[in-house]
Amino acid sequence: MTSYAWLIPVLPAIAFPIIVFITRKVRFLSALVAIAAIAASFVMAVGVLQEVFLLGITMEHPVEYAVPWLQIPGLLKIEAGILIDPLTAVMLLVVTLVALLVEIYSVGYMHGDPGFSSFFSYLSLFSASMLGLVLANNYFMIFFFWELVGLCSYLLIGFYYHKPEAARAGLKAFVTNRVADFGFMLGFFFLFAMFGTFNFRELAEAIPGYQNTAFLALAAALVFIGPIGKSAQFPLHVWLPDAMEGPTPVSALIHAATMVAAGVYLLARAFVLFASLPDVMLLVAYVGGFTALFSATIAVAQRDIKRILAYSTMSQLGYMVMAMGVGSMTAGMFHLMTHAFFKALLFLGAGSVIHALEEQDIFRMGGLYKDMKVTTTTFVIAALALAGLPPLAGFWSKDEILAATFDHGFTGLYILGTLVAFLTAFYMFRLIFVAFFGKRRAGLHGHESPLTMTVPLLILAVLSVVSGFVGTPFTEHGFSTFVYYGEPHHVEPNYAVMLISVLVALAGIGLAWLFYGRPSDVPERIANRYRSLYNLLVNKYYIDEIYLWLFRRVVLGLSEAFNWHDRHVVDGIFDGVGDMTRISGRKLRLLQTGNLQTYALVIFTAVVIIALWMAAPVFGGVVQ
């Protein structure tokens, strides 16, 4: 099966042109092609996972297939290759599964949209790129697909291109990611400059023996900029909330479950590079931790259902990055997997709500549980998972991160993580209490979504419950013996940590109930009391405004200055030379007076001058 693994990205990749060129006019065929392709990929991904188990492919002994893609003999060898190890296998499964479910869901969600076929073509292209990224066996290929997923993200965020906000959000996402990719590219350029290869396996062999750690640290830090952008870490996070302008299934698939996790996946893939550099690891950990807290606080004050989820996603990605930073790749990947399921579920649930109400402001919703039973139930399950209540998936994976943080001695980060857990529970249940319970608001009547939408919800709900069990202490830490760096290792269950997190989660839920679960003016009062703090949170710490100011004033200002310089100074100089020539011609022609005796005088004067110039020979000086 592994030898056919290259088909996993190729199938959706083929679906893309088929939809674009052939089935575009026939909507259901387009959906069918896309779903069939991703379903086949899913089946193969399962097959790959099975084979990884059966053949005993481990992190140390991956399987690699490659064909040359671009070669310059002796200097450059770029392969189109795939690398299969447990990490890959898990990611393949997660990606294909979520993608499959989202595509099924989209059949219902996008029903009636004029861009139905394009939507599926983009999703197929995205799946292909994402799977390619997961399978890549070298930095070049990972970058290749990294950019392509960015493209798909751009296309899908801007899917409703007639909306100026959507168009702007797409642009913002792409450009922000470009900044990150710039760093990433430089990072692996440095690696290439040092080791002459892009291949992960070859690098893994070469890096540990490399002496010049300063250079290596620089390379690693630059590579890390890539995940900062792609996984929306501070300070390149600004694009993710805006990305919610895209259709909701897209948010679920790309901006929650898979693409944004690519950054974390890259960290895992490149772990060999980071692991040897404690300083860089520290940076990674703190960036992750800070982002987790930072975005959780913002989420508390948002009103848009998708934005709350977006900030929550950022926050959870912060967790994962932090896990990587503290050295526990297992924990990070574990959380990545569980988060993929429940966050996809949350988004799809939100999509179901939006689909029904065409409204995103939670304070204009209310009492939805009465009309949308399935949606509400699944949404609550996912929220509980996110909040980290046992025995749901989120609990196990988050706990693993917190325990690892604590274990590795990052007490500060641990406290921070716990605080984030509290905030997470609070804002999620704020959302649930406001939107799904409480009074119905006027004019908004929800209705349950069609089966194509609810079935994926149910499947994901099941996964949100059970997927955590692969890594619990009760199942012998199965996940940690499967996906790991270095030695298979797991954190000994730390029951104090578990208890504390459960308690803070409950506290968060309780506080949310106090504030929002019943009629209350407490939130308003608090908001009024701490108006400036509240404004700060509502306005997301004004980061967007700062960036906008920088772009408008500094970059565009500088550009205008260059433009002026080019048009007036540089051009002025060259045009000036031309004008000088013309003017001198105009002046010189005045010598031609029209009087023939003047001409004669000029001629004889010239003769005299020449003779005087040659005076020396004339008077016998030189020539004798």
Binding site: R589, L590, Q592, T593, G594, N595, L596, Q597, A600, L601, F604
Partner: protein, 102 residues
């Protein structure tokens, strides 16, 4: 003893007087007269060279005769033109002939 240089100096002086006339006179006929002086000066040179350097041959004299012939033709054409212009413009001053310039 009159040497070649005497003749050459005389020729030079005559040439420059003629030149002055050609450059400084308004009347076209006077300009032509100046030119004739210049040609005569050259002829003096030619004949003097012939006489002092190769008396056995007549190259210089032949040259001078040709110059005289050419001068005659030039004068004829030049004066005809002067008449032509005079007939049209009632003017024989060269410094008014500046319709075409720049």
């Amino acid at each position: 003893m009159i040497t070649l240089n005497h003749y050459l100096a005389l020729g030079g002086l005559l040439f420059c007087i003629g030149l002055f006339g050609a450059l400084a006179k308004k009347n076209a006929v006077a300009v032509l007269m100046g030119i004739e002086l210049m040609l005569n000066a050259v002829n003096i040179n030619l004949v003097a060279f012939n006489h002092f350097l190769e008396p056995a041959r007549v190259t210089g004299q032949v040259f001078a005769i040709f110059v005289i012939v050419v001068a005659a033709a030039e004068v004829a054409v030049g004066l005809a033109l002067v008449l032509n212009i005079y007939r049209r413009r009632l003017e024989s001053n060269v410094d008014d002939l500046d319709w075409m310039k720049w």
